[in-house]
């Protein structure tokens, strides 16, 4: 790297994007070797908020690790709750009551919508449009209020328990959620006229940062990024868990593989999540939200277990190794954007800084989740 910087004939220079930079959304640093405005080489430098969650997992009981889930992906924390709870339930063989699963799905999908809305606003901010952020926050605020009522927190949720939930939802939540679905449905066309159809936006996103299916496979890309590259992969459909098979929803897939495709996938996913929330509200069964026979201290039997869920950014997997005690022996957290970001070096070669920013934004990075 330093050799290149000193190479006078190539006239390149090193530009540090981050760790404090408006486009890195957190403390990510990208070391760019530049030739004028063009990027010759991009190297993400991670670890600025690395907290070693996996070691923490080995030092506390199974239940005590749950709050860490909210600290990984702070924008879609409930998916992470779900992934961890489901993994431990699979390991310990705990059955979850159906009502609890319905509420899990409902809240996770609301959380997914809020995450996508925030992404949309922040992405437009990356592209220099300030206003959509405020509109998106306006809607997101409603979700945060609703989830605060049931989970007790606005961002770093710790709502799921092994075998169920911390708290049942009340009628007010259901009414509010129903109202919200109607409200956001009526506002989505506005987002599309305000943002999606904008000429400048199209010019900036179409054909920028193209990822093909083979690249996704080589890097292990999942989530909206993979779906924007024509891969019909959604853990909720491909590897059904929880009560997702009971809901009727589509997986939006776009084949272009550019930033616009990823943008469209997320916008369509908001609609699909609204459908799921609506069905979950309508079909919410009665019953307890906590399984009856959950031991006070969970001790999964020896062995290793894997559970993946579809988080807002892709497939989040938990690999547990239990030695039969009350603490995990090994806890591997597979975070989606870690894999998604790893292809930056390949895609960013030869593009301008502006396009690299547009590409990075379309990956929907949440740095605490990458660094863990």
């Amino acid at each position: 790297m330093s050799e290149m910087a000193c190479d006078k004939h190539k006239e390149t220079f090193v530009l540090n994007m981050g760790p404090q930079h408006p486009a890195t959304h957190g403390v990510l640093r990208v070391k760019l070797v530049m030739d004028g405005e063009y990027i010759v080489e991009a190297e993400p430098v991670l670890g600025y908020i690395h907290r070693m969650h996996e070691k923490m997992g080995e030092n506390r009981t199974w239940a005590q690790f749950m709050p860490n889930m909210g600290r990984l992906d702070y924008l879609g924390a409930l998916s992470y709750n779900h992934g961890y709870a489901a993994a431990v339930e699979r390991a310990a063989g705990i059955a979850v009551p159906e009502r609890a699963e319905y509420i899990r799905v409902m809240t996770v999908e609301l959380n997914r919508i809020s995450s996508h809305l925030l992404w949309m606003g922040a992405y437009l901010l990356d592209l220099g449009g300030f206003t959509p952020l405020l509109y998106a926050f306006d809607d997101r605020e409603k979700i945060l209020d609703m989830l605060e009522r049931v989970t007790g927190s606005r961002l770093t949720y710790c709502y799921f328990r092994f075998g169920g939930l911390y708290n049942d939802v009340d009628d007010q939540f259901l009414a509010e959620a129903k109202g919200f679905v109607a409200r956001l449905r009526s506002r989505l066309p506005m987002y599309h006229t305000l943002v999606t159809k904008n000429v400048i936006l199209m010019q900036r996103l179409k054909g920028i940062g193209v990822i093909d299916a083979d690249m996704c496979r080589r890097y292990g890309v999942t989530g909206p990024v993979a779906r924007g590259s024509g891969l019909n992969y959604d853990v909720r459909k491909n590897e059904p868990y929880s009560v997702y098979p009971q809901f009727d929803f589509d997986v939006p897939v776009y084949t272009e593989g550019d930033s616009m495709a990823r943008y469209m996938v997320r916008m369509d996913e908001i609609e699909q999540s609204l459908r799921i929330v609506e069905q979950a509200i309508d079909g919410l069964p009665d019953g307890p939200v906590m399984a009856e026979k959950v031991p006070k201290i969970v001790k999964p039997p020896k062995g290793d277990y894997y559970h993946a869920v579809e988080a807002a950014r892709g497939s989040f997997g938990v690999r547990l190794v239990s030695n039969g005690t009350n603490t995990p022996y090994r806890m591997k957290l597979r975070s989606p954007t870690y894999s998604n970001l790893s292809l930056l070096a390949e895609v960013a070669k030869g593009v301008t800084v502006a396009d690299a920013v547009a590409f990075m934004g379309s990956l929907d990075l949440v740095i605490p989740e990458i660094d863990r």
Binding site: K8, F13, D35, Y38
Partner: protein, 176 residues
């Protein structure tokens, strides 16, 4: 002979002196600056002073063209080039050797002496009669009648320059 500085003419005299000073200072900076970029900045200052003198000579059109072309275009392009080509400002400072210094001193001295001698011997005539008002219309008329040949030749030179830069630019692009 000497109008008070509070009168319009007096103020104009002061402005003229200021412009002279600016021109001279700009030139000095341009020559003496260690960093190329400061030299260009000095050059720009010098051009502004020259434009001021043109304005003082009641040729606002020429003055403004001086600003537009020399400051706004030439100097900007120079700074641009220097900015992109100067990675290590420290290495710029070159040692002047004594022989070159001596020679340049002698040359400068002879030039000064010649100019002084000329100025002393010359008979100063009164200011030249104004040909026209120096407005755009007059400039345009002169360019398209009396000096049309020069005008055309200049435009040919510019055309060659444009084509040349296009050729160079093309060659640079194919590499990338």
């Amino acid at each position: 002979m000497n109008p008070p500085i509070t009168s319009a003419d007096g103020l104009a005299g002061i402005v003229f002196l200021v412009m002279l000073l600016v021109t001279g200072a700009g030139a000095m900076i341009a020559v003496n600056a260690e960093r190329t970029i400061r030299a260009v900045a000095g050059l720009a200052l010098c051009f502004v002073g020259v434009a001021g003198i043109y304005y003082f000579l009641q040729s606002p059109f020429v003055a403004l063209m001086e600003m537009l072309i020399y400051v706004g275009a030439v100097c900007v392009v120079l700074v641009f080039a220097v900015m992109l080509a100067e990675p290590h400002p420290e290495q710029q400072v070159s040692k002047r050797n004594a022989l070159v210094g001596g020679l340049s001193f002698i040359t400068a001295g002879m030039l000064t002496w010649g100019l002084v001698a000329l100025a002393k011997g010359a008979t100063w005539s009164t200011a030249a009669v104004r040909m026209n008002e120096g407005t755009m219309r007059d400039v345009g008329l002169s360019l398209l009648t009396t000096y049309s040949m020069v005008f055309e030749l200049v435009s040919v030179v510019l055309l060659v320059a444009i084509i040349g830069s296009l050729v160079l630019g093309r060659a640079g692009r194919s590499k990338a």
